[in-house]
């Protein structure tokens, strides 16, 4: 077993990430805890924290809360208020190029640019997910019956892509050629952006709550089944007509979180019983990283070198797993 440095998070671990060498854990009780830095703990929200994502430059964690505030939190323990929407829950966040932060509540999404100015985007139905394109200041908002794509700094009508049903989490492939959403109906939907070709990825017994692109965007790993489901995206037509990989199959627990290694063709798989396994794509070789316990795995992140894994669970257990030196 690899070495685990535990952290008593004591609250639902909403997200984790590395800010340089420091692991940050954003917790449902409104605090952020750190491992490996000079500061252990920072109380950011009085009520609760709903969302957190690392800034694209990796220097800060952006958080959204039940009090409608969006903060930028650093490993030095500084929290800077970026935006506020009183009485709204900020449960969706995305970070973009040049310090841009997108956040949403109800039927409105906003982008805060680095200079502090804000752009507002109205939708007819609630925003289900947010993501920035890998290139250009382009924002995608998922919604009921499809997604809407906006040029943040340009006027004009947004681009709409339709597919019936409720769309939640959304992500771009790293090459920017595909968009994938997790739907209410235990399925993913994808679009090839060059021609708006639809791709339906189904067969899940549960909703997909976690998606992660493998190194160089070869696969999209997803949760929602008794194995991590990895859809191949390296061919010309993405996953269409291809069988996904099924890695880390278990008969007694469901996969609820996935996180691909930043360099190697392997990923870590988090299960509902708290177990974490590392699995290699090539031969499905498995290494147990954490035994079951502490509720479903709710957050995982690799450091930049892929040597250490931060993790957290819904019942407030967390820690750092060192894979190698």
């Amino acid at each position: 077993m690899p070495v685990i440095a535990p952290l008593d998070a004591d609250s639902f671990v909403v997200a984790t990430c590395f800010l340089g060498d420091v692991a940050a854990f954003a917790l449902g009780d409104g605090s952020v805890k750190f491992l490996g830095g000079h500061v252990d703990h920072l109380s950011v929200y009085k009520d609760g924290l709903l969302s957190a994502v690392p800034a694209q430059d990796g220097r800060a964690l952006i958080t959204g809360g039940m009090d409608g505030k969006v903060y930028q939190v650093t490993a030095e323990g500084e929290a800077t208020l970026l935006a506020e929407r009183s009485r709204k829950w900020i449960d969706l966040l995305a970070t973009g190029p040049q310090g841009a932060v997108a956040f949403a509540s109800g039927r409105t999404a906003w982008v805060r640019l680095q200079d502090g100015s804000e752009k507002e985007f109205q939708l007819p139905r609630a925003v289900g997910g947010l993501a920035f394109a890998p290139k250009g200041m382009r924002l995608v908002t998922s919604r009921y019956d499809g997604v809407t794509l906006w040029w943040v700094n340009a006027q004009g009508d947004p681009q709409e892509l339709f597919w019936k049903g409720a769309h939640g989490d959304v992500c771009y492939s790293p090459d920017g050629k595909y968009l994938v959403t997790a739907m209410q109906e235990n399925a993913l939907h994808g679009w090839r952006l060059s021609d708006s070709q639809d791709m339906r990825m189904s067969g899940y017994p549960a909703k997909t709550k976690s998606m992660s692109w493998s190194a160089k965007g070869k696969y999209l790993a997803t949760s929602g089944a008794q194995a991590a489901i990895l859809w191949p995206f390296s061919g010309k037509s993405g996953p269409m007509g291809q069988q996904p990989l099924e890695l880390g199959v278990r008969s007694d627990s469901m996969v609820c979180h996935v996180c691909c290694h930043p360099k190697e063709d392997m990923l870590v798989v988090g299960y509902e019983d708290g177990m974490i396994m590392a699995v290699r794509f090539e031969d499905n070789a498995e290494v147990l990283l954490r035994r079951p316990g502490g509720g479903p795995v709710s957050a995982m992140a690799w450091d930049a070198k892929g040597m250490r894994l931060a993790f957290g669970t819904q019942e407030g257990q967390a820690g750092l797993i060192t894979i190698g030196e």
């Binding site: 009520d47 039940m66 449960d91 139905r125 289900g128 009921y144 049903g165 209410q184 549960a206 819904q314």
Partner: protein, 376 residues
């Protein structure tokens, strides 16, 4: 699931049209010194303030599930809010959802059965309808929503009784009784209600179907029988659309004597459909029979809930199946049907199957005949 093992957060849904007194009831619940911490979900922050730590505004987002059921709708905003609330698990003990005056209660209720994550975290305790004694009759004439809200309620708070005279109050009672004879009606002024009358009702709990049905309770045998219902170990089947559209394949049983519900001595509602005939397309249909053949009953209930699902607001039943020593209980909302064995029939109690539909434009004669065809 027995109460000792069900750790899911109970959810109470408050329904009722604007001005009926929902917010007054909400504040009453919140201000009472009961030690329970609530998370409150409101559709809009109204003029009356709500003093509660965990309070969220939630825009109504009705999602159709893409499974072929036109009535399988859920509230996407509630799914998300419950999911978000779970990040604060431990900070509250129960959830109250206050809907708008024009909200359809069915998608709210269905959310707690259709979405797996919500089901795992929370259980629908009861739908409480707040009704304004002075305006309810007019509202019933004006809107379908008002009918649906009453038909859907497990508890009806007949509020503002001080604003009407005795004759009008009696009239209102009779109309409510007709729309939904299975709800418990609590008459109040300014929503002054004992919290036990609206909270922890277990109205969707299969084990407690009997407890909440005053008409069923009038039957001495079942009244006696229900006392020990909680001593037994139950397993619950997964609920599903009975039509099979959700991939489930659930059973339920029911049979029927085809009788209307039996009115008690104090019941003064109108059986003859005279002056308000046609005004209320919502009505309840109560069916009774002896032992049923499950091979006939399940295909029928699947079919009827598939075909009539959009019109069936609520369904509840207790069924006796041929050669089955256990009672089977069933409850449903539109096309979603949930059923399970409850406990052994007692020696002293008559084996009988009873099924109640509350719905819109239901064909009573056809339901009765089809139900009777399931009798062994």
């Amino acid at each position: 699931m027995s109460e000792t093992t069900d750790t899911r957060i109970p959810v109470t849904v408050l329904t009722g049209y604007l001005g009926a007194g929902k917010t007054t009831l909400l504040n009453r619940i919140l201000s009472e010194n009961h030690g329970t911490r609530y998370a409150v979900i409101v559709n809009e922050f109204g003029e009356i303030g709500i003093d509660n730590d965990l309070l969220v505004e939630s825009d109504e987002e009705v999602y159709e599930m893409n499974n072929g059921c036109i009535c399988c709708t859920v509230r996407g905003d509630l799914i998300r809010t419950v999911e978000n609330l779970m990040k604060r698990k431990g900070a509250f003990d129960a959830i109250i959802v206050e809907t708008t005056g024009i909200a359809d209660p069915a998608p709210v209720a269905q959310t707690f059965f259709m979405d797996d994550d919500v089901r795992k975290a929370a259980r629908l305790d009861a739908v409480v309808g707040v009704v304004d004694a002075r305006h309810v009759l007019q509202r019933l004439k004006d809107t379908d929503e008002a009918q649906d809200q009453i038909a859907f309620s497990d508890v009806i708070l007949l509020n503002k009784t001080d604003l009407v005279d005795a004759a009008e109050l009696q009239n209102v009672r009779a109309v409510l009784q007709k729309l939904n004879p299975y709800a418990q009606v609590v008459e109040t002024e300014r929503c002054a209600v004992k919290l036990a009358d609206v909270l922890d009702r277990g109205a969707f709990d299969l084990d407690r179907i009997l407890d909440l049905d005053p008409k069923f309770l009038k039957d001495a045998a079942s009244a006696q029988a229900h006392e020990h219902a909680h001593d037994h170990d139950h397993k619950h089947d997964d609920d599903c659309c009975s039509s099979g559209c959700c991939g489930g394949d659930n059973h339920e049983h029911k049979h029927d004597h085809g009788e209307h519900h039996v009115c008690g001595a104090g019941c003064d509602h109108d059986h003859s459909h005279d002056e308000d005939d046609g005004l209320h397309s919502v009505k309840s249909i109560s069916l009774r029979a002896g032992d049923l053949d499950p091979q006939k009953f399940f295909p029928w209930i699947n079919e009827v809930t598939q075909l009539e699902g959009p019109n069936i607001l609520r369904m509840k039943g207790i069924l006796a199946f041929k050669d089955d020593p256990q009672r089977y209980v069933v409850q449903g909302v539109h096309m979603i049907v949930e059923g399970d064995h409850q406990r052994e029939w007692k020696a002293a109690e008559a084996r009988e199957s009873r099924l109640v539909f509350i719905g819109r434009d239901l064909n009573q004669q056809a339901l009765k005949e089809a139900f009777m065809a399931c009798v062994v």
